[in-house]
């Protein structure tokens, strides 16, 4: 059963408010280490997760994983507590922002390694006879890691039930994708026989539709496939330093998934969702800091 559109918007706002709050907490000196936010990429997380079976499917996220985590679990409290280093955090403060684990959801702060691990998990579930789709989330920066090509090869060779999700956000930390990668990233997986679907990652309905179709194919045993989402990181890599061209950011800001989704429901419903999720996040943070 597809979730109503208002639920998708609600989840995207929950992610956005949570991450804005985390950055705010960081600037107040309440967060140690670092926070990588996914502002601008909420439609990727929410669209993909809305196409999966959250009870059985497997997710392996990365250093920019808050959105994936919240779209999977809706556990704002566990995430914020984890980032704040509190015992009530989802990994009791050991993991922090980049190392989360909850049910079938895993993250790690290492680029590329998780892709092979996800292929292994997919094969394990397939071997057990479980009809599961395993999803590693990677960014365009991760295409610089050799480990992913070993994983692509084995996934295709052994027909692992994997849906690779690429969030092409144009930057690896401070370096533009075009300064790092030769050729077209969209075509790389195809050479392993992995079909690639390129979609506008700012449009949550398009993401959901494509992810639903690909997941069904993977689930039906047709082998791994890749969902390649064109998106943009509206915020800095982590807390501050952002030397990207302001006009470029402003250009993409017009395509903020939260703006693009505005017309999908009534103005009143949209305003209510925005307001309710803001209060929800604020209340959780107030309780955690009390």
């Amino acid at each position: 059963m597809a979730e109503p559109i208002s639920d998708l918007i609600r989840q995207m706002w929950l992610i956005r408010h949570t991450e804005v709050a985390l950055l705010d907490l960081f600037s107040q000196g309440r967060v140690r280490g670092t926070v990588h936010t996914c502002q601008g990429q909420e439609a990727c997380a929410v669209g993909v997760l809305s196409a999966l079976n959250k009870d059985t499917d497997i997710l392996f996220s990365n250093h920019r994983g808050h959105g994936h985590y919240l779209a999977y679990s809706a556990d704002v409290k566990g995430l914020v507590a984890e980032v704040l280093g509190l015992p009530s955090g989802v990994c009791q403060g050991i993991g922090g922002s980049q190392h989360l684990q909850y049910k079938n959801f895993y993250t790690n702060g290492i680029q590329g390694a998780g892709v092979a691990i996800t292929v292994g998990m997919a094969l394990a579930e397939q071997y057990k006879g479980n009809n599961v789709v395993a999803v590693p989330f990677i960014g365009d920066g991760t295409f610089g890691e050799g480990a992913i090509y070993e994983a692509f090869n084995l996934a295709a060779l052994w027909r692992a039930p994997v849906m690779f999700v690429v969030e092409f956000n144009h930057y690896a930390q401070s370096t533009s994708s075009y300064m790092q990668h030769a050729g077209d990233l969209r075509t790389r997986a195809s050479s392993f026989g992995i079909p690639v679907t390129v979609i506008d990652g700012m449009d949550v309905l398009q993401v959901r539709a494509a992810a639903t179709e690909i997941a069904a194919s993977v689930r039906a045993g047709k082998g791994p496939a890749m969902l390649f989402l064109e998106t943009y990181r509206l915020g800095p890599h982590s807390k501050g330093d952002d030397f990207r061209d302001k006009d470029e950011i402003e250009h993409h800001r017009k395509r903020d998934p939260l703006i693009l989704s505005q017309h999908l429901i009534s103005a009143q419903d949209y305003a209510d969702i925005k307001q309710q999720t803001a209060s929800e996040v604020q209340q959780i943070i107030t309780e955690l800091l009390a």
């Binding site: 190392h99 290492i110 390694a113």
Partner: protein, 330 residues
């Protein structure tokens, strides 16, 4: 014919696959009739074709996939053809497999065994002869296990696969594969401990003149030397742990080391920053050993050459062990 080190490992793999359907084996060139570069996996793919996976030359992915399988309830055994290739596996073991249980607060476990052969003596040269276990010691969450010729290698492998929640790096020594697991009549062996036992071997009931601490591949040379040294009335006690990633238990130091003046700590790694230096460091902390003469013997600080004469110069050999023992006693 006595069972060899290799046969013991082969038999253990067959037995664990028969006993536990969660065991999967993956690695390069492991299918029959080839059966693996060193034949440890021989026969497995014929008996369990669905559970033995021949991989491409992708060491990082072999261990990555095996980690994923372990996270989801299997007990995978990954073979890395040469220990030297562990460098290609390092990220997966260090930053994923050994981290998960600790950083996810024991909500997951990774019962993974990575098997690999280390060591020289076969003329394979600089990138196929190294002892790289030192690179994997001191990693929280990762056990490093290595059977000597006086251990039951198959039993240790079985313990690693079935009875440990892992991950375990299981080091085999190439020079031991063809060796029978037999002990000269004049050598008395005591096995201490349960899961990953330590072996104490003596060439006499007399008080030892020298205590030798080592593991793995050098056990072959030490076992050869022991009857010969006894004839020379040099009494030695050889202590061979199988779990390298933990320093010696204090009870072992009290019961088997304290009281002997001469202690030799030796392995075939390059000098420093490894099992030998860590063992010496731990022994130095015992007041009972304050005045002991603790010596070390390791391979040379260079690559392992291919030519026999040069390889013998670089590595610890029975002759060098003998000379060192004589020098300590002179």
């Amino acid at each position: 014919m006595k069972t060899t080190y290799l046969e013991s490992l082969q038999q253990a793999l067959h037995q664990v696959m028969a006993d536990d359907p969660r065991v999967l084996v993956l690695g390069e060139d492991i299918l029959d009739p080839y059966g693996g570069a060193f034949k440890v996996t021989k026969g497995l793919s014929t008996h369990y074709p669905q559970r033995v996976l021949a991989t491409p030359i992708s060491e990082s992915a072999i261990v990555g996939l095996a980690t994923g399988m372990a996270l989801r309830g299997f007990r995978p055994v990954a073979e890395i053809m040469f220990g030297d290739f562990m460098a290609l596996v390092a990220d997966q073991l260090l930053n994923s497999a050994s981290k998960f249980a600790l950083m996810y607060q024991d909500k997951v476990s990774v019962p993974l065994v990575v098997r690999t052969p280390m060591g020289g003596g076969r003329g394979y040269g600089p990138t196929h002869s190294q002892c790289l276990e030192k690179m994997f010691l001191g990693i929280p969450g990762l056990k490093v296990v290595c059977p000597s010729i006086l251990h039951n290698p198959g039993q240790l492998l079985r313990q690693s696969i079935i009875n440990d929640d892992g991950p375990v790096l299981f080091i085999e020594y190439k020079n031991l594969y063809s060796q029978p697991l037999s002990v000269p009549k004049t050598v008395r062996v005591t096995t201490i401990g349960e899961q990953f036992p330590l072996v104490v071997a003596q060439n006499s009931d007399e008080k030892p003149d020298v205590i030798i601490l080592s593991y793995g591949g050098l056990s072959e040379s030490l076992l050869q030397l022991m009857p010969y040294l006894a004839d020379e009335e040099i009494y030695v006690r050889v202590i061979l742990p199988s779990l390298l990633s933990t320093t010696l238990d204090s009870a072992i130091v009290t019961d088997y080391i304290a009281g002997c003046h001469n202690i030799l700590v030796t392995d075939n790694n390059t000098p420093g920053y490894g099992w030998v230096s860590e063992t010496v460091c731990s022994l130095r902390q015992y007041a009972s050993l304050r005045n002991a003469n603790i010596c070390t013997l390791t391979a040379a600080d260079t690559v392992v050459p291919a030519a026999q004469r040069l390889e013998d110069e670089a590595l610890v050999t029975a002759a060098k062990l003998e000379q060192t023992i004589y020098r300590m006693l002179s």
